[in-house]
């Protein structure tokens, strides 16, 4: 019997993206994604266990060694590590926050990552995202939940020309194809 292999929602669509150098599109592989919610006492220890302090400023990302701590709300963070097994991170944070009021949830399989990079990346995103994505209004190191057309996404600017999009997997083909649509004029 053939072995069942887990698939990512963009495996087929992303196999042959348009070649558009000014806004390159990449479907990212599996990642560890944990949502941490907690009261004051648990926030520090959770960041120490993750290896990245949880940002206390709204809509900011802290990053170190390929690990990202995203502020999503005043008591809510997403902890993201590309190509990483979530189980050891989960166990480490649970150990560090034992007895402190908090909730830690493994949502690794809930969403998938897309990277859009290049000098026209913000322009392409702007066709579906209502935010001002100029570097002054949305600088490197900023993140937020927002909308891309009618799908909710988490958007992070990791470099002046690079955005990371995290989208629920069932919405991923919708977002991908609308990004492709937005890139057509540069093809």
């Amino acid at each position: 019997m053939a072995e069942l292999m887990p698939s990512l929602p963009l495996d087929t669509l992303a196999a042959a993206p348009r070649d558009v150098a000014v806004a390159r599109l990449v479907a990212l592989g599996p990642a560890a994604r944990l949502v941490f919610r907690g009261r004051e006492a648990a926030i520090g220890p959770a960041g120490e266990a993750f290896g990245v302090p949880l940002p206390r400023e709204a809509c900011r990302v802290n990053a170190a060694d390929g690990r990202y701590a995203l502020w999503l709300g005043p008591d809510e963070w997403m902890l993201l590590a590309l190509d990483t097994d979530p189980a050891p991170i989960f166990a480490a944070i649970e150990a560090a926050t034992a007895g402190l009021p908090h909730a830690l949830t493994d949502v690794s399989a809930r969403s998938t990552g897309i990277e859009i990079a290049g000098p026209q990346a913000a322009f392409v995103l702007g066709q579906g995202c209502p935010l001002d994505l100029s570097p002054e209004a949305f600088p490197v190191g900023m993140c937020t939940r927002t909308l891309f057309h009618k799908a909710e996404i988490v958007l992070v600017r990791t470099a002046p020309d690079i955005f990371h999009i995290d989208v629920w997997r069932s919405f991923a083909p919708y977002v991908w194809e609308l990004l492709e649509e937005g890139r057509r004029e540069f093809a």
Partner: protein, 98 residues
């Protein structure tokens, strides 16, 4: 597009928000002590003013938090937003004609 000031995230577009009804309506602590009329007032009857209205909004596609806003129901102008749990600011004179 209407811009709404989330008390946590700052100025954001209206499409990220969801309306949550009139603000500062506390659930009665002992519902069984109320008359039917008082209970109906709590459940259904709202002030529905023409003018400044304190109301709940949720930054649904953002930080996810509920907060309160004073909005002019005639002009749709948001006079002020503030965090849930804070008292209603005195908004009677501020910004109403902007």
């Amino acid at each position: 597009m209407l811009i709404i000031d989330c008390p946590w995230c700052g100025a954001r577009p209206e499409v990220e928000f969801a309306y949550g009804g009139e603000a500062h309506i506390a659930r009665p602590s002992d519902p069984s002590a109320l008359s039917d009329q008082e209970w109906a007032d709590f459940l259904y009857n709202r002030t529905n003013p023409k003018g400044l209205h304190a109301e709940r909004w949720r930054h649904l596609h953002g930080c996810g938090r509920y907060f309160n806003a004073v909005r002019d129901t005639v002009s749709d102008f948001f006079v002020v937003t503030y965090k849930a749990g804070e008292p209603r600011p005195d908004a009677g004179t501020e910004g109403g004609d902007r």
